[in-house]
């Protein structure tokens, strides 16, 4: 049977009534022992009988056509089995949640690095050598590689909004800032490169891949190949990081599938690190003009965010730069505008917290500038501008603990010791400063199904195609089911990452735990109803703890209620009207202390604190890790991460981990995270909200604001590398 819920009304807090007491506890990840001992098997690590290895070949032009692929140039090389280039090849990965093939075809080249062929050989070494030796002829066309000068620029309707008169409000206001910030192209750079092993059994394809959203990936892969989704099974039980780059089916999966079919044997295609940078997704660069005006009390009267981003022709995705700005602060005169430049660069798509990750870098620094202009503490300015109702739609907010996060963070961090005047604290050659920023990430719920089985031996199983990409899904679902069925967590197993299991929305948009967790919760409610009936009490009276059921003066071990065999139930959650009736988001506050070297301009982050409220926390340990991870991404965005495109042909110059600088251990202090107790009844029946992307939202701005406080240099061009800081420092 199925227990179904459409979120058309705020939900009661059943999970505050249960007895087991494991939900929210900082429990270890159940798959931890496998991961730390090297026994968790990732996509590329399956050894199938008779498997061949494929290596992708990339385009070395930015725009044009492949005229000839000289197969003879490699066919005679040892071990080479095939050179395959097919019209079903993907130009770029599918966008997150597309559920259909992206632009296809290997003959038309739209960016430098586009996969145009795969060379398959008996071994990896042979395939790699042959792929790099393959001769390709092109007809080159003129490319647009610079977003600032691109000839084609779109203005998507959904990204334009004019409310009131921003120009007049700016002119009238006692305090105003009108500043432009830029953020560079960034890359997800998950540690596990994209990888697929394709194996056909007649008409049926099994793909072992590294993917985040299997329900959609299955449909995308089937559509790309022109086969029925019924004939595709994808397995991704372990994913070595995704951060958006594995949301949609990617070129290596389709290439492996086509090659495996053609050769009649399993084929593995693993992207080289350079190919991950060039051939998956980038985060678009942004240029953002922020306008803020405030009255004498520091209340916003105008707010504007106008940005230019870029993408390939034919991609409907554009970075939702202003996503959080719409709901975060008030101000009756508002203007939002977006331009999307069409360029021949690697496809732009979702990278961890699309929108907030870059939009908040600009907005939260501009707020710091406004606070200074208005002579207000930056925290006070933010608190004065938390709106009562959504400033555009007028709808109400669901649980929103922003002010409490700001206050709690200020208290824990010692904010009162900050001097509002920059450059006041010096330790030797280091200038010390404190900065803060708001965190906010829109909350989304997505359709999800899950199956729960309760066995007579007091163990339970929860199954869904949901993935765990490091997010803690195995831990969280296990605890949720243990809580609902009154079992110790060790008695519950979570089985994930297989399209044969009930579909969920996957890992993306921070919706995974709430959506799939709610589906598992509903399944458990169904089982609780069955148990109550068996015991002879009502579901409300039923109490389950440590394998024993009590209710209405009755008491029985679970085994006695399961004499007919296991109980099986599916849960099915569908978003409803609460998504439209409430503005829902997770909130937080970031605090950073930096040291800026007065001689070199180098910045070191010395302390960092994030205080967050995201509804019910399902596992305090994994939630903390998610937030810490996001905050470190903020450090990277603030200080080091930047993809450089060659201005002549747009190719990515720093396409490896030596030149694209993700933060390393020494760049990161011990990061402190605190959660505020919150329940969001409008979000979902388990009262939780997204947390995987919250930590990055605003984090980089806190660091850059701290740089300003340390040394008085306002860097508006991310990242704040030492050359930019140094340029503003006084001569020695």
């Amino acid at each position: 049977m199925t227990t179904y819920l459409k979120m058309d009304a705020p939900q009661p807090r059943h999970l505050d009534e249960t007895a087991q007491g494991v939900l929210g506890a900082p429990q270890d990840r159940p798959e931890g022992p496998l991961k730390v001992s090297g026994r968790a098997v990732y996509a590329a690590e399956h050894e199938l009988d008779n498997m061949a290895d494929g290596f992708l070949v990339r385009a070395t032009i930015s725009k044009g056509r492949v005229v000839r692929i000289d197969e003879a140039s490699v066919k005679a090389m040892p071990g080479v089995l095939a050179v395959i280039s097919d019209e079903r090849f993907l130009r770029n990965p599918a966008q997150g949640g597309a559920g259909a093939a992206p632009v296809q075809g290997a003959a038309e080249v739209a960016y430098f690095g586009q996969p145009i062929a795969v060379v398959v050989a008996e071994t990896f070494e042979q395939a790699r050598h042959a792929a790099r030796s393959l001769k390709v002829e092109y007809a080159v066309e003129e490319a647009d590689v610079d977003p600032e000068t691109a000839s084609k620029v779109d203005t998507p309707d959904r990204r334009q909004l004019d409310q009131g008169d921003i120009a007049a409000a700016m002119g009238d206001a006692p305090h105003a800032v009108d500043v432009t910030y830029t953020t560079p192209v960034q890359s997800s750079a998950p540690m596990e490169p994209h990888a697929s092993i394709a194996e056909w059994d007649g008409d049926r394809l099994i793909l072992r891949g590294s993917y985040q959203m299997l329900k959609f990936n299955r449909a995308e892969l089937a559509d790309s190949l022109g086969i029925s989704a019924q004939n595709v099974r994808i397995l991704s039980p372990y994913v070595g990081g995704g951060f958006g780059s594995k949301l949609g089916i990617a070129p290596e999966a389709v290439a492996a599938s086509i090659a495996a079919q053609e050769l009649g044997r399993p084929v593995r295609v693993v992207m080289a690190r350079q190919q991950v940078f060039e051939g998956t997704m980038r985060r678009s660069e942004t240029r953002q003009r922020i306008r803020l005006a405030a009255d004498t009390e520091g209340r916003l009267t105008a707010l504007g965010q106008e940005d230019r981003v870029s993408n390939l022709v034919g991609e409907s995705f554009s970075e939702p730069t202003a996503q959080a700005t719409h709901f975060l602060y008030g101000g009756e005169n508002r203007r939002f505008k977006q331009e999307v430049a069409r360029v021949n660069r690697t496809c732009a798509g979702s990278v961890r917290a699309p929108g907030e990750a870059v939009g908040m870098l600009a907005l939260e620094c501009a707020m710091d500038e406004l606070a200074e202009a208005a002579g207000l503490d930056p925290i006070e300015l933010r608190k004065r501008n938390i709106p009562d109702l959504h400033p555009e739609s007028g709808i109400q907010y669901s649980a929103r603990s922003l002010a409490a996060c700001l206050d709690e963070g200020a208290r824990r961090f010692g904010w009162s010791e900050r001097s509002p005047e920059p450059g006041q604290r010096r330790e030797g050659e280091w200038l010390i400063g404190l900065g803060m920023a708001t965190a906010a990430r829109a909350n989304v719920l997505s359709e999800a199904q899950a199956r729960v089985t309760l066995h007579p031996d007091g163990t339970a199983l929860v199954e869904t195609d949901m993935t765990d990409i490091g997010t803690g899904t195995y831990a969280v679902l296990r605890q949720l089911v243990a809580e609902m069925l009154g079992l110790p967590s060790e008695k519950v197993e979570a089985r994930l990452g297989d399209t044969d299991l009930p579909p969920g929305p996957g890992s993306g948009g921070s919706w995974g735990a709430s959506s799939s967790g709610s589906a598992a919760f509903l399944a458990c409610r169904g089982i609780r109803q069955m148990l109550a009936t068996k015991l002879g009490c009502t579901a409300d009276e039923l109490r389950l703890q440590d394998g024993t059921a009590t209710g209405g003066n009755l008491r029985a071990p679970l085994a006695d209620l399961l004499t007919d065999g296991p109980m099986v139930e599916e849960g099915h959650l569908v978003p409803g009207t609460t998504a439209k009736e409430f503005s829902q988001a997770s909130y937080g506050a970031h605090f950073a202390e930096v040291a800026v070297n007065a001689t070199t301009g180098e910045t070191r982050v010395r302390r960092m604190l994030g205080v967050f409220a995201a509804g019910r926390i399902l596992n305090e340990k994994t939630a903390r890790s998610q937030c810490q991870g996001g905050m470190v991404w903020g450090i990277g965005a603030a200080l080091t991460e930047e993809i450089a495109h060659d201005p002549r042909d747009g190719h990515i110059v720093n396409r490896d981990l030596a030149e694209y600088h993700v933060p390393v251990n020494l760049d990161v202090p011990q990061i402190e995270v605190a959660f505020l107790d919150e329940r969001d009844d409008a979000a979902c029946p388990i009262q939780s909200k997204g947390i995987g992307e919250l930590g990055i939202s605003g984090a980089g701005a806190a660091v850059v604001n701290a740089i300003y406080n340390a040394c008085g240099v306002r860097v508006r061009e991310y990242p704040a590398t030492l050359d930019k800081v140094l340029a503003g420092l006084p001569a020695l």
Binding site: K35, F124, M191, Q628, V632, A658, P663, N665, Q670
Partner: protein, 171 residues
């Protein structure tokens, strides 16, 4: 070409393409996929293993160069149910998320603790001489060749600090 490797105490005879890296020999030919490939260029540390007790990036060396060397991989230092203290510490402190960099972190830390005990200074050491105290900063510097994009650095440092202290107390 035929080569003999000594891995986790077992002698393995392999017939390999001379171009095969030590990492690929482990992953593709011996089923030892615990050592991960993040970059194949010595830039991420995911492939870190021990050769004669020292940590190396196994993607940067050819298998053919390691006849007679003593090789230790993550599979050789513990397994579920019998984890090494450092592995247990990583689980307890959540020193990982996706787990892909983790075997490399643990192998690197295993060797790093010994390096510090032998008095090897680092970039952040106050002096080139004398004993090394594994402060958080020392640990972070010495582990900066192992990237973690999930950014579990806080837990990684905690797990290593704890294991180093336990190792010290056991002396």
């Amino acid at each position: 070409m035929e080569i003999t490797l000594d891995i986790n105490g077992d002698r393995q005879v392999l017939d390999l393409d001379p171009r095969t890296s030590l990492l690929d020999a482990l992953r593709h030919h011996l089923g030892l996929t615990g050592s991960k490939k993040g970059c194949d260029h010595g830039q991420c540390g995911a492939c870190t293993i021990l050769v004669n007790g020292r940590r190396i990036n196994s993607c940067l060396t050819l298998a053919a160069m390691h006849e007679d060397d003593e090789i230790t991989t993550i599979e050789g230092i513990g397994r579920p149910g019998h984890l090494a203290p450092l592995q247990e510490g990583f689980v307890r402190h959540d020193g990982f998320q996706c787990g892909y960099c983790t075997p490399g972190q643990i192998m690197s830390a295993t060797a790093m603790i010994e390096e510090a005990r032998e008095g090897w200074p680092s970039y952040v050491s106050p002096s080139l001489e004398g004993d090394i105290e594994l402060s958080d900063e020392e640990i972070a510097e010495r582990m900066s060749g192992n990237l973690c994009r999930c950014a579990a650095y806080t837990g990684i440092v905690q797990a290593i600090r704890e294991a180093a202290e336990t190792r010290e107390a056991a002396e």
